[in-house]
Symmetry: C2
Amino acid sequence: MPTYKAPARDTRFIINEVLKLDTYGNLPGFENATADMADTVVEEAGKFIAEVVAPLNLSGDQEGCTRHADGSVTTPKGFKEAYVAYRESGWGTLTQPEAFGGQGMPHVLGFVIEEFLCSANQAFAMYPGLTNGAVAAILTKGSPEQQSMYLPKMISGEWTGTMNLTEPHCGTDLGLIRTRAVPQADGSYAITGTKIFISAGEHDLTSNIIHLVLAKTPDAPDSTKGISLFIVPKFLLDDQGNPGTRNPVSCGAIENKMGIHANATCVLNYDEAQGWLVGEENKGLAAMFIMMNAARLGVGVQGLSQAEVAYQNAVLYAQERRQGRALTGAAEPNEKADMLFVHPDVRRMLMDAKAFTEGFRAFALWGALQVDLSHKAATEEERALADEMISLLTPVIKGYGTDKGFETAVNMQQVWGGHGYIAENGMEQFVRDARIAQIYEGANGVQAMDLVGRKLGMNGGKAVQAFFATVDKDCAEAKADPQLADLAGRVEKANGELKAATMWFVQNGMTNPNNAGAGAHHYMHIMGIVTLGLMWLRMGKVAAAALAAGSGDKSFYEAKLVTARYFGERFTPDAGALRRKIEAGSGSIMELPVEAFATA
Amino acid sequence: MPTYKAPARDTRFIINEVLKLDTYGNLPGFENATADMADTVVEEAGKFIAEVVAPLNLSGDQEGCTRHADGSVTTPKGFKEAYVAYRESGWGTLTQPEAFGGQGMPHVLGFVIEEFLCSANQAFAMYPGLTNGAVAAILTKGSPEQQSMYLPKMISGEWTGTMNLTEPHCGTDLGLIRTRAVPQADGSYAITGTKIFISAGEHDLTSNIIHLVLAKTPDAPDSTKGISLFIVPKFLLDDQGNPGTRNPVSCGAIENKMGIHANATCVLNYDEAQGWLVGEENKGLAAMFIMMNAARLGVGVQGLSQAEVAYQNAVLYAQERRQGRALTGAAEPNEKADMLFVHPDVRRMLMDAKAFTEGFRAFALWGALQVDLSHKAATEEERALADEMISLLTPVIKGYGTDKGFETAVNMQQVWGGHGYIAENGMEQFVRDARIAQIYEGANGVQAMDLVGRKLGMNGGKAVQAFFATVDKDCAEAKADPQLADLAGRVEKANGELKAATMWFVQNGMTNPNNAGAGAHHYMHIMGIVTLGLMWLRMGKVAAAALAAGSGDKSFYEAKLVTARYFGERFTPDAGALRRKIEAGSGSIMELPVEAFATA
């Protein structure tokens, strides 16, 4: 059976040494986010999640969720108890506002818990994860009454939440939705329609489920400008605010999926279910994007999570399994064979995973800190900069993070050879679970278009220019350090490829937007490489300083410098190839008629 | 439900127009391989496979195989009937020797059928596929008596065969096997041990199963030099050569796997089972490699197969599904949305799949022709050259073909968005089934080391030099044609990267073999790119000539030229990046102690 331990040391390194969370103590909400507090969160939440949640991952996958004839859904054995334990642990309320029962800590610490939870059990993590998305929408767009009715119990985990966007005929293009919301005399709406792919849509973990549903009012424009957002509780609340009458929203089926079997992905049928408008009519898409943006960062972290847990199990296997001999001669002549670790190609895959997971963890936590700073930084200018950075990089966190996360899970399965293909060893589950993150919350092609079509041009390109400048500044500084000069030169070069690709879009994407579309995915990947390079420069700098100061944790910091070198050598060369692909434009991509794609 | 049609037009193009099979009519075995004959094979075998075998793919995956308490195994519903129909169709005997009931046709036509069969149903295809491997070993190393006892019924498909290499503690490193073969007074051997991952190891399709088993005789050296190969039939043959007494080899379990559910992957327990030595004692590995080399080419084709069927279904979905609008303005304003085909990023994935599948089909069939020519070409020199080419490129066909095949299946699943993650749509099965091909018959890292550690140096590098020269010659010729000049320049450049990487290995791999190991996987991929580039040049040349001659099939040839251009623009840039990764060497890969990989 696969195992999981929270990557505590590395997380503490990023939070306390690289991001230096405690230097923000003067900002509201950061007062209690001391290094000690961060250490406690990392250690204790990590321990709890590894002990209580991780052991249910494989069994949950094998058992899956069960829908009964009455439409009720049972989660796998142990999930209910683990959910109660998670709720009682309080980790889920850490970053939620104190006004509604949360602990008001910075989001960056919430991201730590999200990573751990998804590594331990992604299907489980989605139950509280979706709730967080729903909470974010009600927090921002809900009325004070709605907030006080729903938020305390959603934040405490007594109830969960869902996001209802997709319908059978529409996913990305929400302008096509058909679910109707008809206003009633009492100010509520009667919601009718079918939603599909609703994660955590029905289950037995909580006494109520608060659905957030996109629907169209009778006179709404027939486009994304005609979408409104509604709260539709599974059980209508009684006068005391407790679950009362059952609302006619029911689970028509649960999907048979490639992975995340332990999360109930439901078809939800709304049959004149009672709902309440959230925010303004026809402004539902904006509200939904609040959920989506938070969710996209969370999904990016899922890429990291599956890569991390797969990596941990590949590392263990590479030590345990003996096969063949080192190319340089038997490493352990007294054994019948050497451990897999002696083989360069096995190590290549492990180093690749190490460079990605550690680099991306820094990226994701840095991103989460920008979310905090966009609300809490001392000056308007700092808040705006943080907001621009995270807006720009959200699609990269989601798209690059999940593409590389999946690739890493696949490579870690490869380390296991034939045994990686066998279900009971758990490696293939990581691959199947990682796969969904490239698809949901906006498929990665949609992320790429968000980046290139929307984010690059924000405020006349201010965000991306600020990004370039940040990278160049770090590179220039790092070049002065012989231990980082090689990496700095490589990251600077990759940043140059990114600038050139940006310029190419400016010159060729306006006249023919297909040129932007055809290169968007590649562009997202270059930006992922450059951002991870920036993170490796920063981590390398801290590591070099710690070593120079004679740190007692020498091997940890030395490993950081070696991994930084690996990153430079093996990740950055792709930037140039990707730029050349972008510069090929959309010609050969768009030229053929549809009929030319038939092969028979 | 997913669909499949055999890619008849493209296959005929490669066989008849690019490889010009009928120009080999003077060689033994090629006499009947006329263009008409090839057309018939492609059309009729394709039709049969699409109609009879493909419809069982999804249902077979969902049902899987069942092991009963007595160790017997039932294949999914419909498999037995389809197997009988396949056997009776005669397609399985096409390339087998006439002396044992085959039709003696060139292997290149057998590869066509293998591709179709694996696209239609990989799990099904493995039952006859493993038989072919066993047949190859008996044909080359078996005694005349063994050949006449087993081959006719294995070739007719009345019996199937298996390959028994892996044991719980050893896969790649066969020197570690523990299965024992004790000589008996009657000249047979008593075989005892446990074999795992035995594809088609037990089933209900045929009246007998002929296991080929690696085992060690009592005094064998404790290394790969002490392995012998044995025939162990499930039922011992009676005096008439029919299945009689049950031999004590039994299925202890069938594995629960990520994919290929409809193929019974068995744990086989040999308990003093009666077996007969094939070839010489302690020379089993060489015999096994005969099976393996054929199997590796076949597994490379599996990469193509899954990519092809996934591509076909993605093309259909991209036409059917309407979502969003073309970036250049609504393509079909009267529809609520445009088809997915208008989106450049969707087309990028489809063009990538088209460039890979068509390019790799040419590569695989060209490779199969080299197998034929290595036996049948008119002169010793031609036979030697063909043998060198296919030896050199077998690991590329297996490793690059299955890596890209998997990647393509994943991308085609991505085209389907959320619906691609749902089991009943079949896209996720293609991904799960494609995944095994990167692992079995020598994991792709092993292929890469075979290429770099063994094949490059064969005969003082003669094969790889001949490969370079062939590519350069084709590039030089193609540069004269304005329609191909751009591609030719790009392929020439990629070939230059490959040469530079080869030189780097020569200079750095001798002193430190880890430098070769650390770059082997990248090298295999550059060689894959260059070989596909060579194929696209050749296909482009034929297409340009056909267009110049005023062919009536204009759109087919035009599509070839556009796809060739796409290949040049989007595949070749990676060659340079891969070379730079190789040149980074093994330093940062080998430097860290094992302890540094722990993350907790």
